[in-house]
């Protein structure tokens, strides 16, 4: 094919996808940054350039810092725990196991269910007094606990749901990776007399590194994205103790209709995500090559 025609074909094939991609991802991303330097238009007052005012507001907003620290804890606990659980699940399901089909299905089922729907079920688990958790606790003489109403407990309660939802999803990727490890390695290790733990630590885990990189980037993104259960279970409460960044953006934009401030919050989230994803890539990538 003549080169010019090839160019035209390439561009033509791309046009529809790129048009939508730009319209709903790249242009809005840039516009978010621009809007964060303007004030929100209200009634007769049009939006005006306010420089860094929105960012100054952000620095002084106690709710933002509360939500920010919630989200940091949410990520710090959800990511390692769900990845560790995913590896354990994958090892179990990959090995010889009675009833492997059921166990694998049980691990994976939360992934296909709507988070908003399962949040309803979890909410009932947490109901003080009548909920399943309190019923089990009462068998051992535990007192009634208001899991979703106590500022110290609510974030933990929300984190448990996120881990439950995510671990089985990540397990799939580890399962795929485990199945691509040649069995000869295990045989060689067995001849050398390596214990199972040594084999895991020295062979399996390093070989899973690329998967861990992929999964952890996904997990970071999910720690921002997975907020559906907040809507059903707590609505960010009590007193913003279970609010997360994306939920706060939603509240700011669609409950308080302060779109400029919501844009500012979005910029912060996008900046954090980019830094983390790039950082993770370099950090883990080095380790992958080192092995």
């Amino acid at each position: 094919m003549p080169r010019r025609i090839e160019w035209v074909y390439g561009w033509l094939l791309l046009t529809p996808a790129l048009f939508l991609l730009f319209a709903f991802t790249h242009v809005p991303a840039v516009k978010t940054v621009v809007d964060s330097f303007f004030s929100t238009a209200r009634g007769a007052r049009p939006s005006t350039f306010v420089g860094l005012d929105n960012y100054r507001l952000l620095m002084e907003d106690p709710v933002f810092w509360q939500v920010f620290s919630n989200n940091v804890w949410y990520a710090l606990i959800t990511i390692p725990v769900s990845i560790a659980l995913a590896i354990v699940m994958a090892l179990w399901v990959d090995g010889k196991l009675t009833g492997r089909g059921f166990v694998r299905m049980a691990y994976f089922a939360p992934t296909v269910l709507p988070l908003i729907a399962v949040a309803n079920i979890w909410m009932f688990f947490y109901t003080p007094g009548f909920g399943l958790i309190d019923q089990i606790r009462s068998l051992f003489g535990g007192a009634q606990v208001n899991w979703l109403g106590d500022p110290d407990l609510v974030l933990g309660a929300v984190i448990v749901v996120a881990i439950w939802k995510e671990a089985g999803f990540f397990m799939i990727f580890y399962l795929a990776a485990l199945q691509s490890i040649p069995p000869s390695l295990r045989e060689a290790a067995a001849i050398e007399g390596a214990s199972r733990w040594t084999f895991f630590r020295r062979v399996t885990f390093p070989l899973l590194m690329p998967t861990t990189l992929f999964v952890s980037i996904n997990a970071v993104i999910n720690s921002v994205r997975l907020v559906d259960h907040i809507f059903v279970m707590t609505e960010g409460g009590p007193d913003n103790h279970s609010s997360l960044l994306l939920f706060y953006i939603y509240e700011t934009a669609f409950k308080f209709w302060d779109t400029a401030y919501a844009a500012t919050l979005t910029v912060v989230v996008l900046a954090i995500l980019s830094v983390l994803a790039i950082g993770q890539f370099y950090l883990v990538d080095k380790k992958v090559h080192y092995r």
Partner: protein
């Protein structure tokens, strides 16, 4: 061979058959975690198929009922919500298949200036997702007059960076000879795509399709923002309104509604469990 087996067997049987503690512990652990993971679902089923007073009382021979499902179904326009979700998912999937196929084909087999920059921009969408850009996308939809339409729920997701990437990787593995053979027979670039690439990528389409359908069936935040009427709401939003507004509704009905909304996906998952798992695996492998 059989003699060898026999002698091996004798050798293995020589030490008294030892109970494999390690394996038993692992099996027990795997099952304990599996049951724990399944508990919310078992519990939901229990509550949904028994009368309200057994929601927190567990008696083996509690009477069964379908009343909760009937009540939930009639208490809110779930039929309409289901229709909306099905329309939405179909629209997104059809759009994604067409647009992502064309774009992936361009990236995989055509050389043109700017392709690597554009491909980077496509991959960027994996990080900067429409899910986060809700404020600006809402403004765009309002400008276009599309607020509260099913098209508006789906449009931001149609050009999927993930789909383009996945199909490009698949197309790159197609041998060039096949393409040349089709060319000799007189097929143009689109003919080649349709006759050679698309049929060979069928497993990828299935994998991507399952991932996409389950993702958009479950999606909540964007549909919540962009819809405000019964005619457009997908089941996830319908369910959240149903369980939030009427605090007086009892738990059995809410869990019945919950199971109903997840039902089609759950049944599909149980029936096609293997394909589901393999699809997600395939979609994850780079």
């Amino acid at each position: 061979m059989s003699a060898l087996d026999a002698s091996n067997g004798a050798a293995a049987a020589a030490p008294p058959a030892r109970f494999d503690v390690d394996r038993a512990l692992n099996t027990a652990g795997a099952w304990a975690l599996g049951i724990l993971w399944f508990l919310p679902l078992i519990y939901a089923v229990w509550t949904a198929i028994h009368p309200g007073e057994f929601a927190t009382r567990f008696e083996l021979f509690a009477p069964l009922t379908v009343e909760n499902f009937v009540n939930a179904w009639t208490a809110a326009p779930f039929a309409r919500y289901f229709l909306n979700t099905v329309l939405l998912v179909t629209f997104i999937l059809a759009g994604q298949f067409v647009l992502c196929t064309l774009a992936a084909y361009a990236f995989a087999r055509f050389r043109f200036p700017g392709s690597s920059v554009l491909f980077t921009l496509v991959l960027l969408q994996l990080l900067v997702m429409p899910d986060i850009l809700i404020v600006e996308n809402y403004a765009t939809m309002r400008m276009l007059g599309l607020v509260d339409t099913i098209v508006a729920i789906g449009l931001p997701y149609v050009a999927s960076g993930f789909g383009i990437f996945l199909l490009r990787q698949t197309f790159m593995t197609v041998p060039k000879e096949l393409e040349e053979a089709a060319r000799v027979e007189g097929a143009g670039p689109i003919g080649v795509l349709w006759k050679v690439y698309v049929p060979l990528a069928k497993p990828t389409y299935l994998a991507y399709g399952l991932v996409s359908v389950s993702h958009h069936w479950n999606n909540f935040l964007w549909p919540l923002i962009i819809t405000n009427s019964v005619e457009t709401r997908p089941v996830t939003v319908g369910l959240s309104i149903f369980s939030a507004v009427d605090q007086g509704i009892d738990w059995s009905i809410i869990t019945a509604a919950t199971l109903m909304t997840s039902g089609p996906l759950l049944i599909a998952f149980l029936l096609f469990q293997r394909q589901f798992v393999q699809s997600f695996m395939r979609a994850g492998i780079k």
